[in-house]
Symmetry: C2
Subunit: 366 residues, 2 copies
Amino acid sequence: MQADDVPRGAELAAALRSYAAIAVVGATGAVGREALQQLAAAGLPAARVRPFASARSVGATVPYGDDDLAAAGLDSSAFVDGGLALLCADVATARQARALASGRDCALVDNSSAFRLDRDVPLVVPEVHGRRFAASRPRFVANPNCSTILLCVALAPLCRRFGLEEVVVATYQAVSGAGLPALAELRAETGRALAGEPPAPKVFRETCAFNVFSHDSDVDMATGRNVEEQKLIDETRRILGLPRLRVSPTCMRVPVERAHTAAVRVRLAAVAREAEVRAALASAPSVVLVDDRGRNAFPTPRLAAGRDEVLVGRIRPDAAEEPDADGRSATWSLLVCGDQLRKGAATNALQIAALLAAPAARAGPR
Amino acid sequence: MQADDVPRGAELAAALRSYAAIAVVGATGAVGREALQQLAAAGLPAARVRPFASARSVGATVPYGDDDLAAAGLDSSAFVDGGLALLCADVATARQARALASGRDCALVDNSSAFRLDRDVPLVVPEVHGRRFAASRPRFVANPNCSTILLCVALAPLCRRFGLEEVVVATYQAVSGAGLPALAELRAETGRALAGEPPAPKVFRETCAFNVFSHDSDVDMATGRNVEEQKLIDETRRILGLPRLRVSPTCMRVPVERAHTAAVRVRLAAVAREAEVRAALASAPSVVLVDDRGRNAFPTPRLAAGRDEVLVGRIRPDAAEEPDADGRSATWSLLVCGDQLRKGAATNALQIAALLAAPAARAGPR
């Protein structure tokens, strides 16, 4: 893994432009809109972009650069030879899309959880897997859970350099992870709270205004874990190639519009000095250190919103472990913030798509 | 320790009324106002309550039941024989008050961190220490840090029943922990954000509206811990009587008006079944279980606000440990929510004061 294994900027744009056509399935949702915005920024002509939506939203328009594009109902025309389909919809739509695309030489990158644990489907974070997964030209690739991508970008350099034994993580997740209606609800509920009006939540089971609550996904009756926590466990293990990694997650929603935060405590397989841990993170692809103890300035969701990088800070030897005589510790705490609609979803999917583009089309190294 | 070791209701009120006079030092602050409200509710006549404030706030009035009381500047008249002084101010004021009270048979309960680690000063959570600490009639008792009180109420029953080896905790702390100006800033900054105006924070270093950030206390340049985290480590160890307990905290502020939340991962000294862990918590004083997996209903700061109990839920075997053949695990995750101005500050201080009142004055058992 090297930094230039992650397509970005001009290389990313050129690779995306090499596709004959790009379908965005679930184009009216938060991730779909984000993907369209990035495709427009990459210079892909509107004529080669096709937005698709669920029956409820067919005909709705979505912005694309200076244009407005009308969303069509999903059918096999979305999947053309030499094309790309970004699936930004639910599990059922992902299954439907995969069936419809059968036999086409079309690359599908799926944001849903439908196939993430399927052995035949690569689950990819370019910062972890590099370019190798693309060598076999898989036609269907799963984009991981948003919190998991952001976490893995920060864990990968520590895993490579020191080995990883345990991860305890508590998340502070933005409401937009639950979609645009959830974002609208945060603003509406907060307005009501400021006006002294009683809560009237619809998307979440209780008001998200000035509140914190267990992630809104279902809870497993036997384990007590919510679905988000189970994804974080299963997908982190698969992405890092550590099927027995101990992962202890608590996933919570906070009144934040955009960008997830995670308080992370890692136990490494080897002891390390602070300078070594810091160096491993500082040189990692897509990681930006924000770690100024003197100014009390560390990653925040507001700083991370709208960026493709993952902000890492508050890197410190864990208080629960006494450092050895050489000042080395195996247990470290850190804070991770990232935009879950960009690197946690659309950006990661587009980077995967760039790596899946025919090598000749890519402007990047090797 | 038994449930009836924690004074509440009629016993608490009677014990507080037994004091000749009660001084509230720092009466215009968030904790001072909360204490006054509870004293009024306990039926203590206004004539026996004296609010004191810093030079800046002398003359300001504070509500007391149907009355408004004017705050005086602090002098030795605050400390009378047979009286109580609740110190709801800063470290410097606590030191000054302790000196001024010297020689008086006046009980002082201090909310500041000035003497919390002083061996000669008891640091008390009634749910942990019971009534015994009061037998020697200490005239100066420290009230712990707010997050620490709430955490210890939930940890104590686990510690007593199973022993405790490690606590990893990530907090979601309400802005009112930083005082009333911080609470006003949350509302003002949130209003600005909803109106599309740029942030203009004064109390916090960055906007608290729709944001999450490392606790606003200072950061130790060597350890990387903020002061709140160091308090949580030092005070939890002292309160539980486990000077070498491994404690790994991350303390964060979230856009919540009132009540702190903590995601807690504990490693017990012995393996336990889920029913045993649940029973230990359910029967613990001041703990209320809110733990309905089917309804996805767990503790939230909104539920905890205004209550004296600590809400505990999401009790589950930790995902990082494989349960043994009998389904027992030593590692458990849970969620803790409590009102940091009540049980985390004023209520705990008043309960300590009740236990310090002359035993004959107390209506409670033993």
